[in-house]
Each structure stands twice: as structure tokens, then as C-alpha cells.
């Protein structure tokens, strides 16, 4: 089945087209969501939402890109939206005196809090690196995550982000320089 046959099938409500789409793209979509969310349950949930959106809005697909590029773009946007809404929810929970509980927040551990324990120190450094990736400007974060955690080619990333190839190269280079700057205090 080609992309256009699949889209035509989805528009006409053909279940086979939907099955084909899910079977061919579920792994990539799930893994992209996982790269941003770092949580299997959230990634599964968001990946399902991506397919629901594509199946319901197949008629709006313009056909100027591959279906996979469209899917990946929706996966990235949905994952980032999910992160934003979880941050808001977490902030609300922390501010709410009835349900707030900041005592179990382990993400604020300072580097080196392990006190010489190598395993804990390594865990701290890993969290510091993850936090540094999360704090990158959005475009740099998307490009870096898709490239390093999802192994998408620069060409594929350019398609997903609707950018030129040099722009993607520049984003990834700047992401690495920014990470270097942000991580210096942890790894000096």
C-alpha cells in the first residue's frame, strides 16, 4: 500500500488502511514519543493519540510530505504539549496546599549529593544531563533528541521540523555547545 492509497483508504473509512498505517509506523512513533517523555506509559498513550489524530484528520493531509514525516511531526508536537501540561499540573500540585507535596521531589538533588557514592553520583550526573537537554531551546531540543535518541537522519529531521538541512546541522551544533555550557559546573 502506498502513502496516497493509505490516505484515500483512511478518508473513506477503510479499516485495512488504518491497520496498515498503525502496523507500519507504530514503532517509530512510540520511540519518538519515548525520546521526549522518558516514560513508557505516557509514550504509549501519546502514540495512540497521534494515530487517532491522523486517522480522524486524514482528509486534511496535503500530500506535500511523506505520511511518516506527518506522523513524526504530530508525535513531536503532542509529546511537547504533554510535557508542558504535565509541568503545569505539577506546578499546580506543588502550589496547592491541600494536595501539594514537595517533599518527594527528587529531581532537585544537587550534583554530588550522593556524598562519594559512585553509583548515586553517576545517577545525579545522568539527571543533570537529562535536565540540561530538557532546558535547551525547543528547536535545539527537538533536533538533538531526534538525532541522538531516535537516530533520525538530518534529512528526516529537516522534514519533520520543516527546516533546511544546514539549519538542522546548525541547531544540533548549537545544542551541543549549549549543553557544554550548561553542564560545565557538573562535570568540571
Amino acid at each position: 500500500m502506498t502513502d496516497s492509497e493509505c490516505i484515500q483508504g483512511l478518508i473513506s473509512g477503510d479499516e485495512e488502511a488504518a491497520r496498515w498505517l498503525v502496523a507500519n509506523h507504530q514503532l517509530r512513533v512510540y520511540n519518538i514519543c519515548l525520546g521526549f517523555l522518558r516514560n513508557m506509559h505516557d509514550a504509549e498513550d501519546i502514540a495512540q493519540d497521534v494515530f487517532v489524530e491522523v486517522i480522524r484528520n486524514a482528509a486534511s493531509f496535503r500530500g506535500d510530505a511523506k505520511v511518516s514525516t506527518w506522523l513524526h511531526r504530530i508525535a513531536v508536537n503532542r509529546s511537547l504539549n504533554h510535557i508542558r501540561s504535565s509541568k503545569r499540573r505539577r506546578l499546580w500540585l506543588e502550589l496547592n496546599p491541600f494536595t501539594g507535596n514537595s517533599a518527594d521531589d527528587t529531581t532537585c538533588l544537587p550534583a554530588g549529593a550522593a556524598g562519594g557514592n559512585d553509583l548515586l553520583e553517576q545517577e545525579d550526573l545522568k539527571h543533570a544531563l537529562e535536565r540540561a537537554i530538557d532546558s535547551l531551546p525547543q528547536n535545539q531540543r527537538i533536533a538533538f533528541t531526534l538525532s541522538k535518541l531516535e537516530d533520525l537522519s538530518y534529512q528526516e529531521i529537516a522534514g519533520v521540523m520543516n527546516l533546511s538541512l544546514p539549519a538542522v546541522e546548525s541547531l544540533i551544533h548549537r545544542a551541543k555547545m549549549n549543553l557544554q555550557k550548561r553542564l560545565k559546573k557538573f562535570f568540571a
Binding site: M40, R56, L125, K148, L149, K176, L179
Partner: protein, 152 residues
């Protein structure tokens, strides 16, 4: 190799690349530089964590889950049922609104000295009551005078 170049090479590693494939120079640098070695280990841990969670085989019931969600969202759009998370969102919005109203009343109370009705209004209300009592007493006195005045 200096640390700047080493960091760029370490951060260049991706989830499918084998650690140590960047060349002899980096490996040699990592043996002597603890800061770069720490970064290499942390980056390796992030990639390996992600690699451990990644799915390599398709979930055979994934389509059924998507189909279920698709049908439930169609029901939402036809207005029959809202998913639980929508109720939760509406609930928290209402709770927020109620909190804002209570806060507003509290701040208003503080600004007006603990009484939402201005001080002058209270005085006016009291004096109005007193005034009507005085008028009543005066009328009674006049009636008494009318009926019991010896000169009348």
C-alpha cells in the same frame, strides 16, 4: 585532544552508535581526564536507559487500543460522554474559580477593615433605626397630649 573537542565527540554519540567508535584519540583522552570520563559515562547512561525502554517489536494489540480511543473520541464529539480527564479538568477549573472567589472576599474583607459593608452605611442604618424610634415616641406623646390634655 582537548576537552572541548572531546565533549563534542561524546555528545555526538547516538543511541545506535557503539561507545568507543569515535577513535583512539578520544579513548586516550578519556583515560586521562576525569571530567570528560564522567560526561561520557552519564551520556552513555542516558542512551542506555533510553535504549532499554525502546520498543523493537510492534505491539500486536496496539491497533485495538487506537481503535478503542478513536471510538471514545467520536462519542465525545457527539456529546454523549466526556472522558474522565475532561471531568477532572472541569473540576479543577471550578475549584480554582471557587478559590479565587474566596480569596477575593477575604482580600475585600481585609481592605474594608473586616466588614464588607462600609462604616458609614452601618452608622446610617443605626441612626435610621434610632430616628424611627424617636418619631414613634413623638407621635405617642402627641396622642397622649391630645386625649389627656386638660386644656383640650
Amino acid at each position: 585532544m582537548n576537552c572541548q573537542d572531546a565533549w563534542l565527540l561524546i555528545l555526538e554519540r547516538s543511541v545506535s552508535a557503539k561507545t568507543g567508535s569515535e577513535g583512539y584519540e578520544l579513548e586516550e583522552h578519556l583515560e586521562t581526564c576525569s571530567a570528560c570520563r564522567k560526561l561520557a559515562m552519564a551520556h552513555g547512561a542516558v542512551l542506555s536507559d533510553h535504549s532499554g525502554l525502546r520498543r523493537c517489536e510492534a505491539d500486536p494489540v496496539f491497533y485495538q487500543k487506537v481503535d478503542l480511543k478513536l471510538k471514545s473520541t467520536v462519542r465525545v464529539h457527539s456529546g454523549i460522554l466526556l472522558p474522565l480527564r475532561d471531568y477532572r479538568a472541569i473540576g479543577s477549573a471550578l475549584a480554582g474559580l471557587a478559590a479565587a472567589v474566596i480569596l477575593g472576599i477575604w482580600i475585600g474583607g481585609l481592605l474594608t477593615g473586616g466588614n464588607a459593608i462600609p462604616g458609614n452605611s452601618a452608622t446610617t442604618a443605626v441612626s435610621t433605626n434610632q430616628g424611627s424610634e424617636i418619631t414613634e415616641d413623638y407621635t405617642l406623646a402627641r396622642l397622649e397630649n391630645y386625649f389627656f390634655d386638660e386644656n383640650h
